[in-house]
């Protein structure tokens, strides 16, 4: 493809930007400090395009595209924050809050939660949908960590970090649809699973679903920024 230029120029929210061929809209936006909300995306992990928060409008197309997996093309005109997009984002967040039991005041991640931050960011003040209030288990069998499924949003960051970075693939998803759940190994207790105790899943978990037992009752910030660095060091080796 020698006649295809390696550099593309496009417009994001009225701002002219340039990109390398193969870059995603999200990457280019981040480089240019244009904020696109994300939830399942995390720098250093593969993208699955599941949370639909990063949907953007492309001029000339009716379809909304997830910025995290859509690559740029020459002359593309992207809108990242229209009224319509905001409505969908708030609606999706509402669905998440109503899906399981997200009670910030008693959550270990309160103040450090990406879901909470995103809701504030998007101006979600209340949830109009009926709460489903499922009775989900809490797995505290692990000596260091706890999995509270009531707070899980099924972003699958834990699944990806365990498989792609740690190489253990302890986490996976079981069940279908509204009954989906993250599980360890073949649905065993986390404590008796083949978990390597590395704790990466806890650090990448955007909510209080996976947390460190020693942090209960105290501040529990998470540090997922180690991932791009780790990947860089591995590539350099």
């Amino acid at each position: 493809m020698s006649d295809t230029p390696e550099v593309k120029t496009l417009v994001i929210d009225g701002q002219e930007v340039s990109a390398r061929r193969g870059q995603t809209i999200l990457e280019v936006a981040q480089e240019n400090e244009i904020h696109i909300p994300t939830l399942c995306h995390l720098d250093g992990l593969s993208n699955v395009g599941a949370c639909r928060m990063c949907l953007v409008e492309i001029k000339g197309s009716n379809k909304l595209l997830p910025a995290c997996v859509s690559t740029v093309f020459e002359g593309m005109e992207v809108t990242t924050n229209s009224e319509r997009l905001q409505r969908y984002r708030r609606n999706i967040l509402e669905m998440l809050f109503a899906e399981r039991n997200h009670i910030c005041s008693v959550c270990v991640a309160n103040g450090h939660c990406e879901l909470q931050a995103l809701a504030q960011d998007q101006g979600l003040t209340h949830v109009r949908l009926p709460y489903r209030n499922p009775g989900l288990p809490v797995d505290a069998s692990h000596e260091r960590f706890t999995a509270d499924h009531n707070r899980c949003i099924l972003c699958t960051r834990c699944v990806r970090v365990c498989a792609e970075v740690e190489g253990a693939h302890v986490w996976d998803v079981a069940g279908r649809g509204i009954n989906s759940m993250i599980i360890t190994d073949l649905h065993e207790d986390w404590g008796s699973s083949t978990c390597t105790r590395c704790g990466k899943c806890v650090q990448v978990c955007p909510t209080g679903a996976l947390f460190d037992k020693s942090k209960i009752g105290s501040d529990h910030p998470k540090y997922p920024d180690f991932l791009p660095y780790l990947n860089l060091m591995r590539e350099a080796r």
């Binding site: 699955v48 395009g49 859509s70 609606n91 489903r132 649809g177």
Partner: protein, 552 residues
Amino acid sequence: MTLEELEQIAKSVHQENSKYDYEVNVCMDLACASQGADKLRDALLKAAEASGKTILIRKTGCMGPCSSGPLVRVDPDETLYAKVTDANAQAIVNSLGDKPVPELQCDLNEHFEKQVRVVLENAGHIDPEKIDDYISRDGYKALMTALLEMTPNGVVHRITESGLRGRGGGGYPTGLKWSTVAKATGDVKYVVCNGDEGDPGAFMDRSVMEGDPHRVIEGMAIAAYAVGASKGFIYVRAEYPVAVSRLTTAIREARRRGLLGNAIGNTQFNFDIEIRLGAGAFVCGEETALLASIEGRRGTPKPRPPYPAVSGLWGKPTLINNVETYANIAPIVRNGGKWFFNMGSERSKGTKVFALTGRIKNTGLIEVPLGIKLWEIIDVIGGGVPGGHKLKAVQTGGPSGGCIPADMLGLGVSYDALMAAGSIMGSGGMIVMDDTSCMVNVARFFIEFCMTESCGKCIPCRAGTAQLHTLLTRICTGKATMADLEMIEELCDTVKTASLCGLGQTAPNPVLSTLKYFRNEYIEHIVHKRCPAGVCAMEAPVSTEPALEVHA
């Protein structure tokens, strides 16, 4: 295997068949088999032996009008008997060479008159477990013609020329898909057949796989030649054990005859097929989920692009088509693209198989030229709504489709017309509903289906369908308010627009189409706590308030 050998086989089958004075074909498809076609066949065999006449008793695939089963057709007179039991076997055998048995004869002329059989041309005429039967009806001739007389490009061109569109539901132009895969770079390519039919009430693909499995294999082999693949997969759901066993037999027989394997037709072309079983997840009918499932991973869809044509199975260019699409290939190659192009309506060419079910007299499998008016299917082919009831709506496209109201029966059945009416062609399920069906309840049924079949990967589909189900249940139990209805409409918009794959993007269709055409039923449920069809059990007390003026 060469063309001459193929003709030799056909000739010997015809010779063998001509030894018999009569052919008695017994439909052994699931519907007929469940009503005792097995016993009937045994009784016929016994009676035939005792009679001293030379009779060929053949078990065949689906003949069509399942509601009249078990079906028996006597050739060469083409006498069709309906609702035959083993007690009738003797009478049928006795009647051969004489007048037909009057009490078993059925008047299905109208049912068959409007039908055009391309995909189902062999169903009911051949024994699906005998490759020679298929060969005797021009089977594998198209493959040999393609291999020996056409270039791969020529085959793609012929399919493009025919105007065939994907029969799995999307209606993507088949020729365009083939040419994309043919042009994709890479020495390893795959051909995949989507046999993961999962729409409630739909059984077209099952009948094709069970009644004429070689047709699918031949279509796939031609496709493989056209796009440059040498390996194929048929993905069938494990709930179709008969289809699986028929396909397994068919693949084995085709290998034995040299129609699969290496150097097919003494050319350089190699192709073989493997069967993969689905574990019953509806979402695995979505192409990227299906490919993930074949690879042995969890069957969840992936964002496209990249499309499977560029990066499919194990990252290789992959052609994926539906069973019925492949079943159309051999006749197109045999008869030419123009022949196919001349059937059907302006932008929907050829014929389509529908599984006609619900409140209709002649339920079963039908094949009609596209563009046919809906009333012709319902009133003429289907024989109308039985029991003095009134037709209310026709549901097409399964959980991704919508309900077309009775006053729109003048609609021509085509991809675009159905889409414009708020439904879709889908894979070919057609459920007829009369005045005993509550449209809100129907919408709730389909949303429940989508909720349980959602893979759970993306939020709008996973949580949105569950919320829709909760709200629709409120309406069906008389607990809803008009605010709930507004919420439903907003949710439908989000789920439709923001979902990752086709399942979620089309899941709200049954709700949206019933809201479009039967909004008053929703209002009745909400405002008056009354189900007009008398289906929904209302938990809230019936309102005695005077009716509100609602402009809906």
